[in-house]
Amino acid sequence: MSEELLKAMAQSIIDGEAEVAMDLAKQAIEAGMNPLDAITKGYMPGVNEVGDSFACGNVFLPELVMAGEAMKAAIAVLEPELKKAGASREILGKVVLATVEGDIHEIGKSLVGTMLTAAGFEVYDLGVNVSAEKIIAKAEEVGADIVGLSALLTTTMVRQKEVIEAMDKKGLRKKTRVMVGGAPVTTDWVQRIEADGYSEDAVSAVHMAKNLIKGS
């Protein structure tokens, strides 16, 4: 295993260079490197370093996002190789994300998706204006550990409650936790609709998701 290659992988994440990250992944495959090692010993240290630096205020959000995108790009190359080898990377959990019906605000939710993916979650982002039925169907299909519901407006955040109620009726809440987010969402709202958690920003969302998985 090439130490230099592993270091370059970490650096490509720190630099937020998706193309470099992909090239290195391809090189690793050609060189016969175990794709799981590439992820855990190459790229992940880069992700961890950027995350720690962000927490200290030394890395800005666009740098964090670019690092996340680079990680996604590397995984996209390595994942098929993992499957071929009959292996799989350690997934922290499966997350279905959506902006609720009637609301077409996307960016906050997508940012959460990027952060979760970079941290090791498998994310299914259903986009915006998604009905409760579609969200629940996807959660059931993939066996989601977490459903994340975004809403920017006070008039659409009531849909978060509707999704939770529908999940309750189907008995899904034992397996699947619900995280909510959006500008009008507060701890008070989370308690009222009996969601399992929320965070005020995308980075805290990762901590919340990890805690929900640990607690389940």
């Binding site: 800005f60 959000l61 077409i104 006070t154 008039t155 659409t156 009531v158 500008a183 008070d188 920003d201």
Partner: protein, 477 residues
């Protein structure tokens, strides 16, 4: 002379316009409204129906700008409060549809209610710098399906100033129309007086909601003016540079105006913006920054460049609570659009990035508006203000308190005296319990709420409005 400023040169405004034309034509604009896409296609735009994107050529921009009225009087239920647009001075609007209110009596923050709107509108009504009332909170105690109607009707009831609010979808429009006609007496009066208008927010970057746009097109039948309020945020929903974000906001504003002009040529429209900046450290939206003030001022100049009534968001703050942070941010985001020539600055009454209504803040913001107004008025050099003769007469060591000119100009507005800032001596101030901006504002709010409502709706109109709302609650449930 008046304090004059120019943020963008004529060449720079032309550059914004040219970049905007490229954005509209090459990137296109996404409309979730088939009505809007049909209008654009019928007028020569190429439409990608699958992607819902219209590529808007410059000819359509020119056409829309040629039919948009260059001036009109923003009316009011009480005609004394009518406000002609464009205006030589800046006046203010209540900030709207925040999620939260700080309870005036308990001091606790909670979701906003119908009662919060009523109180805030009454306080706003008493503010001399305020001309346009927007329902300040989303009334969480009302059903989501009719909430904007409750909020709109609260404006009808609690102030006779110009009211601006929103509806969210087509089915709400007949109830709004019925309410407007009930308040104004007839459909003709609704159309003639422009006492109520609509606020419309495109979704950045370069997108438009479907149901809201369809509803607003429908309300063109009543000739209701529409204010477009694009909200791109540097670095997330808009490019990170101020100039780039200004171009995106301008493209969104023009694309809104185009639709309403194509649907109803000559319908009054108001150019506006509510840009934000991204906190690059944590991704938070910020609306109380110097950069936001600059973008508001530049976009106010762009509205004027197009010959349209031109307004801006401003007097905005990201502070978590009322206080010095809020005053700093609100002052800086007010003075910039004032100097940019904005007709109306939208932001009274809220902190927490337009999410928390605080009644005392409405009064404090009115005071900030007075300070900005005084700066804008500049240095008057009319003959009665020159006073060289007095200087010559008194000479070195003279006391100007003895001059008639001092007495005569004492109440002329030459010097502004704040009724809110405490100017007692230090010892008096200490003995009085150290009153300040917010405690004085609180007293003013208490007084306003204790007084009978100004200009209440006459006769049984309020009761009729309640009947319309009850019907809407039942039928739209």
């Amino acid at each position: 002379m008046r304090f004059q400023s120019q943020l963008l040169s004529e060449d720079e405004k032309e550059q914004v316009h040219q970049e905007t034309l490229r954005i509209l034509f090459e990137a296109g604009v996404l409309f979730h409204s088939a009505k809007a896409l049909n209008l654009l296609e019928a007028n020569g735009a190429r439409v990608d129906w699958e992607g819902k994107i219209a590529y808007i050529p410059r000819e359509i921009v020119t056409q829309a700008l040629s039919t948009a009225p260059r001036s009109f009087v923003l009316g009011a239920r009480n005609p004394a409060h009518a406000y002609p647009l464009p205006s030589p001075v800046s006046r203010y609007a209540l900030d709207g549809t925040g999620a939260f209110a700080q309870d005036f009596y308990t001091g606790k923050n909670r979701y906003g209610t119908d009662e919060d709107n009523a109180r805030a509108l009454r306080v706003f009504h008493a503010m001399d710098m305020g001309v346009m009332a927007w329902a300040p909170v989303s009334a969480e105690d009302k059903p989501a399906g009719t909430r904007p109607l409750h909020e709109f009707f609260s404006i009808f009831k609690n102030t006779s100033k110009h009211g601006q609010h929103e509806v969210h979808y087509l089915e709400q429009t007949p109830y709004l129309a019925e309410g407007l006609i009930t308040v104004m007496g007839s459909e003709d009066e609704v159309r003639r007086r422009y006492a109520y208008s609509l606020i419309y927010c495109p979704i950045a970057p370069l997108m438009h909601d479907g149901p809201m746009m369809d509803a607003y097109i429908e309300l063109g039948a009543l000739d209701m003016p529409v204010m477009t309020l694009p909200m791109p945020v540097t670095g997330t929903t808009g490019p990170v540079s101020l100039f780039g974000n200004i171009c995106v906001a301008n493209a969104e504003a023009l694309s809104t105006i185009i639709i309403f002009q194509l649907a109803h040529p000559g319908r009054p429209v108001i150019y506006s913006s509510a840009t934000g900046t991204l906190d690059l450290r944590n991704g938070a939206y910020m609306g109380g920054t110097p950069e936001m003030g600059l973008m508001s001022a530049a976009l106010a100049e762009m509205g004027r460049f197009y010959g349209l009534p031109s307004t801006s968001a401003g007097c905005t703050s990201d502070a978590h609570e009322p206080g010095p942070d809020a005053v700093l941010e609100k002052a800086i985001t007010s003075i910039a659009p004032v100097l940019g020539g904005s007709d109306i600055i939208v932001g009274f009454g809220q902190v927490q990035s337009d999410q928390l209504l605080v009644l005392e803040q409405i009064v404090v913001d009115n005071e900030i508006a007075h300070f900005c107004e005084r700066i804008f008025q500049g240095v008057d050099v009319s003959p009665e203000k020159v006073l060289t003769e007095d200087i010559l007469k008194l000479g070195p060591g003279g006391n100007f308190l003895t001059r008639k000119s001092t007495r005569n100009l004492a109440r002329s507005g030459e010097l502004y005296f704040s009724p809110l800032l405490d100017r007692h001596t230090l010892e008096q101030w200490t003995q009085l319990g150290k009153p300040g901006l917010y405690s004085n504002a609180r007293k003013q709010v208490e007084n306003i709420l204790a007084e009978p409502m100004q200009d209440p709706l006459p006769g049984d109109i309020a009761a009729k409005l309640d009947e319309i709302l009850a019907k809407a609650d039942k039928e739209l449930a």
